[in-house]
Point group: C2
Chain length 337, copies 2
Amino acid sequence: MSKIHVTLKDIARVAGVSTATASLALSGDPRVNVKTKRAVEEVAKRLNYVPNEIGRSLRAKKAETIAFIFPNTPHFAFSHPYFSQLLEGISEILVENSFHLMLSVSPSETDEAAAYDKILRNRRADGIILWPASIRDRNILKIVESGFPVVYLGRWHHDEIATVEREDVGGAYMATEHLIKQGRKRIVHLTGPLDYQVSIDRLEGYKRALQDNQLLFDPGMVIEKDFSMEGGAEAAKELLESGRSFDALFAANDRMAIGAMKALADSGISVPQDAAIVGYDNIEMASMMSPGLTTIDQPMKEIGKLAALKLMAMLNGEELQELQTKVPAQLIIRGSS
Amino acid sequence: MSKIHVTLKDIARVAGVSTATASLALSGDPRVNVKTKRAVEEVAKRLNYVPNEIGRSLRAKKAETIAFIFPNTPHFAFSHPYFSQLLEGISEILVENSFHLMLSVSPSETDEAAAYDKILRNRRADGIILWPASIRDRNILKIVESGFPVVYLGRWHHDEIATVEREDVGGAYMATEHLIKQGRKRIVHLTGPLDYQVSIDRLEGYKRALQDNQLLFDPGMVIEKDFSMEGGAEAAKELLESGRSFDALFAANDRMAIGAMKALADSGISVPQDAAIVGYDNIEMASMMSPGLTTIDQPMKEIGKLAALKLMAMLNGEELQELQTKVPAQLIIRGSS
DNA sequence: ATGAAAGCGCTAACAG
DNA sequence: CTGTTAGCGCTTTCAT
């Protein structure tokens, strides 16, 4: 059984050279004699040498690691339906670049703001990919403004920061317009918490589509819930109890849409005849409902890849050809509308 | 604006002490004078000092990091329905222990086996949590046998390794028995790929339940698919075309169950009247189907927590009070059976 | 072409 | 109680 941790020193000793030479040889430096190079390589292979990345990192002041940070709020975090797709895209690029991926749950807003500083300063990661949080979260703001390499997965108020954004306004516009084209005139919007940029944007898209089609925006037709299925079900109940008439519902995410759809069905409202429904996100479940849920698809894996690529470019000191990238959304029409 | 990277040396210089004293002071060593201690702490706070963990790691030969590794196969990986729950549980414990979480997609079997060695030897992680892969994967075997701290999230052939397992045999037994108690006599089992331990175990539970209830096991009633919804739908079609009579179907996971349920419904078979269906995993979608899918629930978050706790204990050199932990499954009865 | 030596930031053994 | 020193594993001048 070979020693568990073979160091460069071991290699040097066995090969009869200095650690400096061994290091140069293994890194393929042309200055070192081909013969010694070969000898060193042979020893390294035989002893199963794997460089200690911690040592290397300390020296290089780089960690070859990027951190994926997202806020640990009830609505988001791991349970988010496409969290894993995002992760898949990010991971794919990182593997190609021999980078490691560190996952960080960011502390809630009430936590020490300093917790963020740590992430930035403890040198564990060279860059950060940030999942959109509540726009009120001042800790996030701090990271973003620190100048540390960051790619933000959403819209940011300032232009200087690298982002990969979804087309939320445009997607919501498409969704709403689709309903209007189906002849729906009284369209309810089921929004998420309005301190999230994503909610604001989807609401905005809804408003614009109404406006462009000569429909009056009625604040009473907007119901704010928490992105959960239960929230969707509640909204549907409140809507029915209010006696307000409506012929369509556009929800800011699929979960709420599904919750509402079930609740409506339970109350004898038939979808799409009595009320058409459109969701947002195209989660797997959307295609499995009966009727299938019409929704807006966003290529989350692609977004993950783009974000990782952008971060890699920043770390390599390359000039970004495009600081902010917007990934287009796509309308997926199914039976619910 | 303060310097981006304040080092211990900076603190020492400003506070007028040596780095050694500064280090001791900050680590709360009782030997250092209370006054100097306070002074050092004050400086550290003022300069916003955050220790460089890379330096610390190199010194301590620990990374304060654990790696969560899982194979990048089509059936599993990120897209697995409860991958995120697992992650949530693991993450929770790690945060409590100030550990970092590193995510590693393990290379496919055809990749260099050496890729694993690297994970073990580059000192990036102190321990590993391993997601069950195909039992044929010899790379996994290598990690497990290397003696590196590992917690395996499944059943392993040998007793010496720490595991947190699901009750797959027992859960499948419960599922099958439930169907039998409903008076079903011709129960089809829709299994996953049989080179996965999980498939083997669930098949085994199915067999035992039949046997204990004096029902004959018929290999023709077992259909092997790939854990996907499409697989489930295919299976249902094949079953109908075969003309084989059946009054119930137990699928090795919810996705296949749902695929099959939809396909049966499309063919005019009513669930549960004509055929009862039971799945496995209790994914979110299961509760949203109409009828709801009866299934087996496994507390994946809990499993993640247990695994992380076990690994922490191992790293602390504690004796494990229980090397292998089995987490019980639970039958969730819904409308499909 | 190679080796000696310094140093990344930190901690700990040892001296004083 | 505090400072000096050494060294974790690696890379990179600077000599030779």
